[in-house]
Chain length 684, copies 2
C-alpha cells in the first residue's frame, strides 16, 4: 500500500543526527567500558546466539503483542522446541542455551527443565535415582517441572498441605490432596507441557502403632502424564492456571492428586531417607541444604537485574535525548526545542537509575563469586558459608529486584505518551519482570532473614568486643560499637567531597540501625512481628551499604576501569550513593557523622553530578550493548530512527488496520460487509 | 467434565467465615459511611446500570484476558454500540451512560464522542456551527474524535506541526502534514471508528503581501472518512497505532493530511475569528478559555482516582484478611496461621492507601465544587477563577493520579503470588490506569503550573503584607511571612496528639518551601529549568497540604460523618497525614514547628494507628461499595470465596485447557494430532 506518507521525514533535528552528536560529544571510551563490564565472553556469545535466532521466523517478535494468550503459549512452545533443536545441532552448552532464552525474552514452557527439574534431581537424588532419571531428563526425553507452591501456601513451605503417606505394605507413597487449597499452583511448565514433576509434599510416616506423623515437606519424582497420550495419569487433575500479568508463553499450572500411588523409589533420598520396610526416617545432616536450588535461582535473579535495568535505561536515555519538548523558558525562543533529557526533572528519574545499573553490576559480580565459593565449600562438605549466602542473597534479592522493577516503570513513564505505547519495548519487560519482587521469596518477607542474621552478629560482637572477625559486617559492627563506647558520635564525614567518606557513612548508618534493632529485640524483648517494618529497613540499609561498598571497591582496585573511565564512573558512584542517601537522609543523620547542613546540600550536589554525567549518558548505555533484537524497541533503537519505526509498525504491520469497521451504533455489524456480531459474542 | 476436585473445599478457616468475623468484629456502621461518601444517588445509579449490563452477554468480562488485541477492539465496539442502544431504549442520561462506561471498565471506541468531541463543539463552536453539528453529534449519527496530539508533540501544544493554511481565493483551509512527526498520534476513536474529527492545527494566515504567518494552534471540525464506505477521504491517511500498555478496546489512531481542503466554516469560531474575505484574524478575549475542555477532563480524572484506589484497596484488604501465612514467631505454634493483613509490613503498604482513598474523596469533592463554581463564573463572563482552577487542578491531578497508579501496584504486589495471577482484577486496572500519570498533562511537567502560581502569590504577599486575602494559600503565606518576621521559628506543633497541629504543620511546611522557591527564583534570579525539581516538590507540598486540610475540614464540619464514624475516620486522617509526613520528614523539620524527636516518634505512632484501624479494614472497604462486576476479582470477592473462584476460573473456563499439546522437542507438532506448526508460524 503506497501513499503520500512514504515521502515524509521527521522534523529536524533527526534522531540519527542527535545520537551521533551525543556519541561524539562524550570522551567516554564505550569499548573500554564494555570490555570491563563483560570480561568473560558474554558479548561474543550474545552476538553469536542472537545472529542464529534471527535466522528463524519463529523467533520474530514483530507482532507478538497482538496475539491472544493461548497463541502466545503455542508460539512459546514452538520457540522452545526450535531452541532445543538448534542447541543440539550447534552443540550449544548450557550458557548458550540460557543466552538464547535471555534473548528470546519470555519465560519458555521448558524453562524449568534445567534450572529446577534437573538441578533438583542432581542435588536431591541419590546416586541410583540420578542414574535412573538424569539421562532421560538431560536428553529432554522427559519434560519436568518443580511442583512446590500450592494455592494456599507459597512462602511458608512448611505449611504445604499435599500429603505423601507411606504404605509399608505395598512400599508405595500415596499422594493425596485433602483440600482445594492443597492444589499445586504456579509451577511453570506444569499446566500443559511437563510429563514429569518433582513434587514437594508432606512426608507422612507411620509409627509402630500405625499412627501417621508428618516429617515436613520433601521432594519426590513422578510421571504425571501418559507418555503417549499426554493426558494426566488417572488420579491426577492438571491444568494451566490462566492468564497472568506476564509469562504469556509459560503454562504455570495447577495439580491435584486423588490417592495417587508412587513407588518408594520416588522419594528423593540423597539427604533424607525412609526405610522401605519399616518406614523409619533418617534426617539429613544439614537441613539447610534442601534450599540449595532456591538459593541458586535467587543468585541468578540478582545477576539478571542489572541487565534488565540497563535495558530500560537504554530505551529511556536514547529516546529522551532525541525527544524534544518546549524551549528554555528563560532562554532563546528560536531554534530547536530542548531535549527532554536536559530537564532536571527527567534527569532525576533516569540518571540515578543509569548509575544503579553499575551498582547492581558490582554487587552481582560479588554475589556470583560468593555463590561459587559456597558451592565449592559445600561439595567439599563445608556448609558453614551457606547461612551467610542465604542471608546475603535474601536482602540483595529484595533490594535489587525492587530497584529494577520500579526502575523499568520509572523509565517507561519518563517516556511520556510514547512510553504508554507499544513501541517502548518496556511493556513486555515490565509485565515479565513484575514477577520478580514476589517469586523465590517475597521482597518484603525475605528481608527478615538478613536482619535476623545481623542481630545475631551484633550479639556476637557485644559478647566478644575484641575478637578478630573475618567478615566485613562484623568488623563494621565492632568498629561502631567501640567508637560509640569511647567517642560518642564520632568524626564528621565529608560526604560531599570524599568518596571513602560516603562508604563510611553507609557503614555507620547500617551499624546504627543494627544496634537499635538489636536493642529492641534482645534487650527490650520486643516481639519479632511488631518490629517487622524496622527489620525491613535494616535489611535495606545493609544491602544499600553493600551496593555502595562493592561499587567503591571496584573503583579503587579494578584495573580494568581505565583512567578514561574513572572520572565518569566515579560520578556514577557518587550519584548512586548520594541519591540513595538523600532518600534515607534521616537515618544517616540519626547515625551521626553527617549533619543536617550536609544533607540539605545533597539535592544541589546530585543535580551537579547529573549535569556532569548527562553528556556521557548515551555512551554509558551503549556500553551495556543490549542487542536490537532483545531491546525490541522503536524508542530505544541504536540508530535513533524512533519516529520512522513507530510509524512503520503502526502503518505497515498493525493487523487491525487491515479491516474496515462499521461505526454505526444502530447496526450490529462490526467488520464492514461481514455479518459478524454472533462470532464476536462467541469469543466471550 | 466432572472429577474428584468437585468435592474438595479450601482449608479452614474459610474465606466466608473469615470475612464474616472481620465484619462483625468492627463497630463501624458501613451503611452510614456509604451514605456519607455517596450522598448524591451514585449508588442507586450504580446498582441500576450494573443490573442492566449483566443481562447482556457482550458485557461479560469472563474470558477477555484471553483475547487477542484486535478482538478486544471488536468486542469493545460491540459493547459500545450496545451501550448506546440501551441508553436510547432506557432513556439514560449522560451520567447513566458514564456510569455504564465506568462499570464496563475499558476505554471504549466511542469514548471521545461526549467528553471531547461534543464538549469541544459546544465550547468552541459558534452558534451556527453548533446548529450545524450538534444535532448529528448528539444523535451519534456522526462519530467524532479530538485530534490534537502529534507524534512529535504532546505537552507543548504550541509546537504542533500540522498546518491549516487559509486560501482566501477559495475560502478554504488546507490541512497539510509537512513531516512524519506532524502525524496526529494517540487520539482515541480515530484509528478505526470515528468518521469526523475536531482537528487542532497551526492556523496560518496570509498578510497583505501574501506571506503566511502562524497564529498558533486552533481547532477545526471536518469529516475524515467517507460516510458510506468508512474509508479515509482522499488526501488523508488514517490508522490505529497498535497495541499499548492498556486501552485494548480503544483504537488510538494516527492521521496525516496531504493538501486536504476544508471550508472556512470548519474553523471553530466561538472565540477566535478569521475574516473569510481577507483572512484577518480576531483573537479571543481570554486565551485561557481554549483550555476549558482539558481542565474539565482533568477535574474528572481527580474525581475518578479515589474510586480506582478504593477498588485496589478493596481487593487487597479482603484477600489479605483471608490469606494466611506462618504462625507468630514468638507465639503459639498451633492453630491457624496468621492473616497476612496482621503483619505490620503488609499493613504499612495497604492501610495508608486505605486512608488515602478518603483523602482523595474530600479533595475530589472540593475540586468538583471549584469546577462547578468556575463554570458558573465563566458562563456569566467572569474568567478570574480560571487561572486558580487550572493551577490547583494541575498539582492535584499530578499527585492524585500518582498516588492511585502507584497504589494499585502496591496492592497488587502485596497480594504476593496470586497478585501476579489473573484473578486479582488489578492487572487490567493497572494497565488502563497507567495512562493517567501521562495523559492530560504529564505528572512531572504540570506541577510547574502550580508552583508558578504560588511564587506569584508569594510576591503579592510580600508586596502587601497587610492586605486581606480571600484564598487560603495567600492567607497561609501571609501568616508564615509575619511569623517568620517576628517570632522566627514559631511555636511547637503537637503533631502526635493534636489534629489541628497536623494541618498546621502541613501549612507551615508548604509556606516554607514556597518562600524558599520564591527566594531562589525572584531574589537570586535562578533559572527556571535549574529549579524544576524544587518546583515539583513545592507543588507536591501544596497538594499534600490540600489533601490534609480538606480531610480535616470534613471531620470538623461535615455533619454526615456520624459520631460512630468519627473515631475511625479520625484515625484514617491521622494515618494518611502522618504517613505522608514521615516520607517527607526533613521538609517538616526544616520548616520549623516539629522537632527531630517528634519525627523519630512517627513510625511507632503510625504503627499504633494501623493497629487501631486494622479491625475496621474490611468494613471500611465495604463502604466503597465496589460492585462485583466492576471488581472482577477472585481475590477481592465480597463473599470471600477466593480459592473456589480461582480454581473455577482455571479449571472450568481457561480455553488453553481444552487442548492437549505435544511436548516432544524433536516433533514440530504443537497441538496433539494436528499438524499445526505452519499455522502457528503464520500468526507471527
Amino acid at each position: 500500500m503506497r501513499d503520500f506518507t512514504e515521502n515524509l521525514k521527521p522534523a529536524v533535528p533527526t534522531g540519527p543526527d542527535t545520537l551521533a552528536k551525543e556519541r561524539s560529544q562524550s570522551s567516554l571510551p564505550v569499548d573500554d567500558l564494555s570490555a570491563h563490564l563483560f570480561p568473560d565472553g558474554f558479548l561474543e556469545r550474545q552476538e553469536r546466539i542472537c545472529k542464529e535466532l534471527q535466522k528463524h521466523k519463529v523467533f520474530s517478535k514483530q507482532n507478538q503483542m497482538d496475539l491472544a494468550r493461548p497463541d502466545r503459549y503455542k508460539v512459546g512452545l514452538a520457540r522452545a522446541k526450535m531452541t532445543r533443536r538448534i542447541a543440539e545441532k550447534l552443540n550449544w552448552d548450557d550458557e548458550d542455551h540460557q543466552m538464547a532464552e535471555y534473548l528470546i525474552d519470555e519465560m519458555s514452557p521448558y524453562a524449568l527443565q534445567t534450572a529446577m527439574f534437573i538441578v533438583t534431581l542432581r542435588e536431591q537424588g541419590s546416586d541410583e535415582q540420578q542414574a535412573q532419571w538424569l539421562p532421560k531428563a538431560e536428553a529432554w526425553k522427559i519434560i519436568g517441572t518443580y511442583a512446590q507452591t500450592e494455592m494456599g501456601h507459597g512462602s511458608n513451605v512448611r505449611g504445604l498441605e499435599l500429603q505423601a503417606r507411606y504404605d509399608p505394605k505395598t512400599k508405595e507413597f500415596i499422594f493425596h490432596s485433602p483440600t482445594l487449597t492443597s492444589s499445586k499452583w504456579w509451577p511453570g511448565s506444569l499446566g500443559r507441557t511437563a510429563n514429569h514433576a518433582v513434587v514437594v509434599a508432606q512426608l507422612m510416616l507411620p509409627d509402630k502403632a500405625g499412627i501417621y506423623k508428618s516429617y515436613g515437606p520433601h521432594p519426590f519424582i513422578t510421571p504425571i502424564r501418559d507418555m503417549k497420550t499426554h493426558k494426566p495419569l488417572p488420579g491426577i487433575v492438571i491444568g494451566d492456571i490462566g492468564p497472568k500479568y506476564g509469562y504469556p508463553a509459560m503454562d504455570n499450572g495447577y495439580m491435584l492428586f486423588d490417592q495417587f500411588r508412587i513407588p518408594h523409589s520416588a522419594f528423593l533420598s540423597r539427604y533424607s531417607k525412609v526405610d522401605p520396610e519399616t518406614g523409619a526416617y533418617t534426617k539429613p545432616v544439614n537441613t539447610a541444604v534442601v534450599y540449595g536450588s532456591l538459593t541458586y535461582v535467587r543468585a541468578k535473579i540478582i545477576m539478571h537485574a542489572r541487565l534488565v535495568l540497563a535495558r530500560a535505561v537504554t530505551v529511556a536515555v536514547r529516546y529522551l535525548s532525541i525527544r524534544r519538548q518546549f524551549r528554555d523558558r528563560d532562554g532563546n525562543q528560536e531554534g530547536a526545542e530542548m531535549a527532554v533529557l536536559d530537564y532536571p526533572t527527567v534527569q532525576i528519574r533516569i540518571l540515578p537509575l543509569l548509575a544503579t545499573t553499575f551498582a547492581l553490576h558490582y554487587s552481582g559480580r560479588a554475589m556470583r563469586e560468593l555463590y561459587e565459593k559456597t558451592r565449592r565449600d559445600i561439595s567439599s562438605g563445608d556448609f558453614s558459608a551457606l547461612a551467610e549466602m542465604h542471608s546475603t542473597s535474601s536482602g540483595l534479592k529484595s533490594l535489587c529486584t525492587t530497584l529494577a522493577a520500579d526502575g523499568i516503570e520509572v523509565c517507561r513513564r519518563a517516556c511520556g505518551g510514547h512510553g504508554f505505547g507499544g513501541g517502548t519495548g518496556l511493556i513486555a519487560l515490565n509485565n515479565e519482570y513484575l514477577s520478580k519482587p514476589t517469586v523465590e521469596g517475597d521482597n518484603w518477607m525475605i528481608t527478615q532473614q538478613t536482619s535476623a542474621a545481623i542481630i545475631k552478629q551484633v550479639s556476637t560482637v557485644i559478647a566478644n568486643p575484641d575478637a578478630k572477625f573475618a567478615d566485613f559486617t562484623s568488623q563494621n559492627l565492632q568498629q561502631f560499637y567501640k567508637a560509640q563506647k569511647y567517642t560518642d558520635k564520632g568524626i564528621l564525614l565529608d560526604i560531599l567531597h570524599n568518596d571513602k567518606a560516603i562508604v563510611d557513612a553507609f557503614s555507620k548508618r547500617v551499624a546504627d540501625v543494627s544496634f537499635k534493632a538489636h536493642k529492641e529485640r534482645i534487650e527490650k524483648k520486643r516481639s519479632w512481628n511488631s518490629m517487622l517494618i524496622q527489620l525491613h529497613k535494616l535489611s535495606r540499609a545493609h544491602s544499600q551499604a553493600m551496593l555502595v561498598r562493592h561499587f567503591h571497591e571496584a573503583l579503587e582496585s579494578d584495573s580494568t576501569i581505565s583512567s578514561k573511565l574513572q572520572p565518569v564512573m566515579r560520578d556514577c558512584f557518587r550519584l548512586f550513593a548520594l541519591y540513595t542517601m538523600d532518600i534515607e537522609a534521616r537515618e544517616f543523620y540519626n547515625a551521626g557523622g553527617v549533619t543536617n547542613e550536609q544533607l540539605d546540600a545533597l539535592p544541589d550536589r546530585i543535580q551537579e553530578l547529573m549535569a556532569k554525567i548527562r553528556p556521557h549518558a548515551v555512551n554509558l548505555v551503549d556500553a551495556w550493548r543490549i542487542p536490537e533484537y532483545l531491546l525490541d524497541s522503536s524508542l530505544g533503537r541504536y540508530d535513533g530512527k524512533v519516529y520512522e519505526a513507530l510509524f512503520h509498525k503502526a502503518h505497515r504491520l498493525n493487523p487491525l488496520n487491515r479491516e474496515t469497521f462499521n461505526p454505526n451504533f444502530w447496526e450490529d455489524e462490526i467488520v464492514m460487509g461481514k455479518n459478524d456480531s454472533e462470532a464476536i459474542l462467541a469469543k466471550l
